[in-house]
């Protein structure tokens, strides 16, 4: 009896019950602080086989959620960014140094986030790695917790310096094997629900998954202030949440798998503006 099966595996049924109520992203235009025009829709990068147009997740949200990102004062992520500006200038660790001892200011990092993750010395490196490496080597400071607010505040502050620039991560050369690995993860079905990233964010973006308007799962706005947790959320934390919801054992934040997935998902947004720090539901 089909119906009984659907009820007994209720979560699976709910997750797959997509209805074409809002089939498209909306037509709103994202201009931050009434001056910074963001690209929230553009032609998909050549490597995408099944998607013609890429959209920022902002376009899938309600007007009220969208409004929180229109003005930096209204954006609650900026509280954590403010705290990161203080941290940038605060001495920490055995060497008696702050970020400001070596770097004139966060502005020095304009453009960096738009090109991350990238391969350095044969290793795929994400922003959290750069920060903790510098903390360890230059400052003699304890590493920050991956998804802690100190770490994500600083990732957001560095990312803010690239806001409005197009995402442009390299996927060829040294990056190619990492990118291939990330792509494989993206298309692999995980968990009891047997869902891949692509099942929701490529095949069904624009559709409703229960009451949620599915986006393309772009990460150009991360770290993002998520209303659900009321704090800055890391890319890896979001990946973990999605895979957990397929009822799978998930990869760890800061794992090589998630580094590779980050590179691949970021490359799917090549051409969208960096929106860091965005606001989502």
């Amino acid at each position: 009896m089909k119906k009984a099966i659907a009820i007994s595996s209720g979560a699976a049924a709910l997750c797959l019950m997509v209805t074409p109520l809002l089939a498209e992203p909306d037509d709103d235009s994202l201009v931050i602080n009434e001056e910074l025009q963001m690209v929230t829709e553009t032609e998909a990068p050549d490597h995408l086989e099944y998607v013609n147009t890429i959209y920022s997740g902002w376009r899938f949200r309600t007007d009220e959620t969208q409004a929180l990102q229109l003005d930096d004062f209204d954006n609650p992520a900026m509280l954590t960014v403010d705290a990161a500006i203080d941290a940038f200038n605060t001495v920490d660790g055995s060497e008696g140094k702050s970020c400001a001892s070596c770097h004139a200011g966060p502005e020095d990092f304009a453009g960096l986030t738009a090109s991350m993750p990238k391969v350095i010395d044969g290793k795929l490196v994400v922003m959290e790695d750069l920060l903790n490496n510098h903390r360890a080597k230059a400052m003699g400071a304890e590493p920050w917790k991956w998804s802690g607010q100190e770490m994500q505040g600083m990732v957001a502050l560095i990312g803010l310096q690239s806001r409005g620039m197009p995402v442009d991560v390299a996927i060829d050369g040294e990056a190619a094997p990492f990118w291939e690995k990330g792509k494989e993860i993206y298309y692999t079905r995980y968990g009891q629900l047997e869902l891949s990233c692509a099942n929701c964010h490529e095949d069904n973006y624009g559709n409703m998954i229960r009451a949620d308007h599915l986006s393309q799962g772009q990460i150009n706005g991360f770290p993002t202030y998520r209303l659900k947790q009321a704090k800055l959320i890391s890319k890896h934390n979001r990946f973990r949440g999605c895979i957990r919801d397929t009822r799978a054992e998930t990869f760890a934040e800061g794992s090589d798998e998630f580094r590779a997935l980050e590179l691949y998902v970021q490359s799917r947004g090549n051409g969208l503006s960096v929106e860091t720090p965005a606001v989502r539901q």
Partner: protein
Amino acid sequence: MADGVKPRVKVPKTASAGEAVTIKTLISHQMESGQRKDKEGNTIPRSIINRFVVDFNGQNVIDVTLEPAISTNPYFEFEAIVPESGDFTFTWYDDDGSVYEETKSVEVS
């Protein structure tokens, strides 16, 4: 004092006498509602900002009573009259007895 409490206030720097100005305020605060439970199942005690007061040169603009249903990082937007040059004072009162203050000057031209 709760950790890392940080106010942000947006006030125009100048105004004409008697002008109505829009003020926005945001303060970092968990606003622990007293409704949540920790991993052991114990109720996490309420810890919120319970009052927010704005004055201009000693005269009141708005005095807000906050309950646990106000969101994390309390946000307020309202309008004030600026009769003359002076200072807006913003004061947040925490359940734990802490008081957070911010001052913004406005020049009347």
